[in-house]
Amino acid sequence: MMALALTFAFGCFAVALLLNLIHLLRAPTLPDRILAVDTMVVNTIALIVLYGVKTASGLNFEAAMLLAMTGFVSTVAFCKFLLRGSIIE
Amino acid sequence: MLRRLFPHPLLSLLLVIFWLMLVGRPALGSLVMALILATAIPLLTARYWPDQSRLYRPWLLPPYLGLVLVDVIKANFQVARIVLFWPPERIRSAWVAVPVTLTSPEAVSILAGTITMTPGTLTADISADGKVLLVHALHAPDPDALRDEVATRYEARLKRIFEP
């Protein structure tokens, strides 16, 4: 039963990534695109974690952690750039 | 002496816990490394922690976090319903100015984060004097009810934790 649910979750996040990609391409404003990229990062983290469940290894969480950190910093940097025109003040 | 070495005891404690969780197995070496980090990082970043806020009732913090977690899950179902089934014309979004009486910056930050994480509301800005939060609500036909809920459900609890 868990294997079935795992496949379902994989499918859900894959479709979610696809929806984000569609939104990234046809978003009307720049902040919308940043939001789409940020959501893609979070969905990718979910995929990594699900892969960790599938292979029953505890090593994947480090990849998820790194992606979470870089994703957060890059989103904030994008926003700062749009707000101020510079990132490092 | 101990105070000089650990200017922020809570931060040091959190660093030890986080390092042990990151390493994942309890070993003496990891504990030593955790202690080194817990001493070095607060000292190196002391510049960015100018004043220390005091927790008056720290034991109330875990129940608060539990309440927020339950609220996040409960309210997410509501937002899911709005997103999935409501026609877009029916969603009444609104900007709401929520007054805050908390004084400690940490407490206001936690309140703002709580408002953002409970779905349906999102903190967008704070007034320059730190007394009002600008909140965007996904569906708020009654802004006053929203203000009341923030004040009674979250702010009152935070006040008990952060203020005497």
């Binding site: 404003t29 940020d38 959501t39 | 007054p99 703002a112 953002t116 779905p119 903190t123 800005d125 007394k131």
Partner: protein, 121 residues
């Protein structure tokens, strides 16, 4: 006992998939840019949180090792999601929202992002 864990894990995984999907679906479906901020920052975070919880439960059960790393990643995501949302909201306000449509603080001060006397954005 193992059947119970199996059911709990399956429920968590299905919940996480559904919330992830709802978050991204809301991103596409909602009309207003500020409304669109609501769905992904929260529903998706809950979806990932449920997946993390499933991983933290499944690993000790599968191979006996206990790992708290997933809990750490989930905590990190929960702490950073409000900040990401705050920055995105500010960017939206800066670029697309009409300032006059916002309510005023009412204390005589202005909103921090519109107060040019403040140094920090």
């Amino acid at each position: 006992m193992s059947l119970l864990i199996d059911i709990a894990l399956a429920a968590l995984l299905i919940l996480s998939g559904l919330f992830g999907l709802i978050g991204s679906w809301g991103l596409l479906r909602l009309r207003d840019p500020m409304q669109r901020l609501h769905a992904p920052t929260k529903a998706t975070t809950v979806g990932v949180g449920a997946a993390m919880l499933a991983a933290a439960l499944a690993l000790p059960w599968a191979n006996g090792s206990f790992s708290l790393g997933e809990v750490l990643v989930a905590a990190f995501l929960y702490l950073t999601a409000p900040l990401t949302a705050l920055y995105l909201a500010r960017t939206h306000m800066h670029r697309t929202v009409d300032r006059r449509s916002l309510p005023q603080p009412g204390t005589g001060a202005r909103w921090a992002s519109q107060d040019d006397t403040l140094d920090d954005a």
